[in-house]
Symmetry: C2
Subunit: 254 residues, 2 copies
């Protein structure tokens, strides 16, 4: 059976950060599914079909793509960043598990990409140079108190923290609450990076302290990276500071 | 002053996973520094110079590259994967902070890449589909008890855990000890992925349970991904199972 679904990571948005593997997968597919802004990044040929959908429709989108693949087409599901990080690869797996048994025969391939926190980190130095974690700040699919418990656990343990999906119209207060929580467990001087649209023309990178961080510095396109107590700034004349987390740790800080 | 140092991420090893941005940075540099196996991935021109160094020489390598950049050359430091994840970007920042003030005038650019855990995750489904962390298992630069405390904190909090640098000749017992520790905090049935050389001709991907995981399933080229209590397997006829972590969580499991 030749049915095939490939889940493609398009990277942070700069076309120069799309891997050749991803570009070839785009060239080889006939039917494209995805959130409209990601599909809009592609220049498809007239013989390629696109089915755009809205945000938060991940399961119905996955079902539609799997049905199309099961009927013998070469189908692509596109994601920004890496498809395995808070994106479509998990939604497709959920749909396969819940769907008809035939869907398990579909050849599924996932093409990795540069995820947002890596692109943001690259713009400021090396804030992820030591142990780090990634938390989806959305509480659409998990209770908020779980998000809070996780932030406290990793802040206390000395991880750098990347927050994905920090804010949206439907979730206006969560990021501010996250900063409040983190201020109870990290120094006010901890560097915080607001990395918006890294590598794109509308990029905006801001470096502040945790004491200064407020929610409206972020929007839906922002990845927020919060340092550990060991994250450092290197001041430079006429340039933004470098932010980095040393590779070594004494472990003395709690 | 035109001195420039670019720290380039070459991705997991498959040439198709090198971004065009990284390829262009390689084409534009004149002097290359790096760990020899990473330099060996490049096809340099006769006018390009390479200075290979051994593992664990990150600071002397950074100093040499910064000196060459400060003298006006276009210098590249190459890393496997993403240079910001347990790789050369942090070492270069450490060297800049400790070095002569002129080094802060060097134009520093970091080119992100696909880091190992993303490439490994892509080969099996979507194990990083929910909150996750990355821990450098090497205790060369941090005390082992800190590594253990961090593993316990994130296992208890429900993060998927990616272990980088799991084992080497100089560090033979740490990975086995890590599995022992994690078995005290996670179900024996938790999926564990040994992802060796993902995307390369010598790739080897093994999926076992935490109860079955032993250290000699890994080598220096392996990234080990340990699921959370919510990570699931989808069995398939005639194909390896899919491993994924659902996007949702009830938060009931501790």
């Amino acid at each position: 059976m030749s049915s095939r679904l490939v889940v493609i990571g398009l990277g942070p948005g700069n076309p120069d950060q799309i891997t050749p593997e991803a570009s070839r997968a785009v060239a080889e597919a006939s039917h494209f599914y995805g959130y409209k802004p990601y599909l809009d990044r592609l220049e498809l040929r007239p013989d390629q079909t696109r089915v755009a959908s809205d945000n938060r429709e991940e399961i119905s989108r996955s079902n539609a793509a799997l049905e199309m693949a099961a009927s013998g087409h070469k189908v692509a599901m596109v994601s920004g960043g890496d498809p395995g990080v808070f994106a479509m690869a998990a939604a497709v797996c959920e749909a396969i598990e819940a769907g008809p048994k035939e869907w398990r025969d579909i050849e599924l391939a996932v093409i990795p990409g540069v995820t947002a926190m890596l692109a943001v980190a690259a713009r400021v130095g090396a804030p992820l140079g030591h142990d780090f974690c990634a938390i989806n700040l959305s509480d659409n699919l998990k209770p908020w108190d779980l998000v809070e418990r996780r932030m406290v656990a990793v802040a206390q343990a000395g991880f750098v923290i990347s927050l994905y999906n920090p804010i949206s119209k439907a979730r206006p207060w969560q990021l501010g609450s996250a900063f409040e929580t983190l201020r109870n467990h990290l120094p006010e001087t901890t560097p915080v990076i607001f990395g918006r649209a890294a590598g794109r023309p509308d990029e905006r990178i801001e470096i502040v302290t945790l004491g200064e961080a407020v929610a409206d510095m972020a929007d839906m396109a922002t990845c927020v990276v919060i340092g550990s107590p060991e994250t450092r700034l290197i001041e430079r004349d006429g340039k933004p500071p470098l932010v980095y987390t040393p590779r070594f740790s004494t472990g003395v800080a709690k």
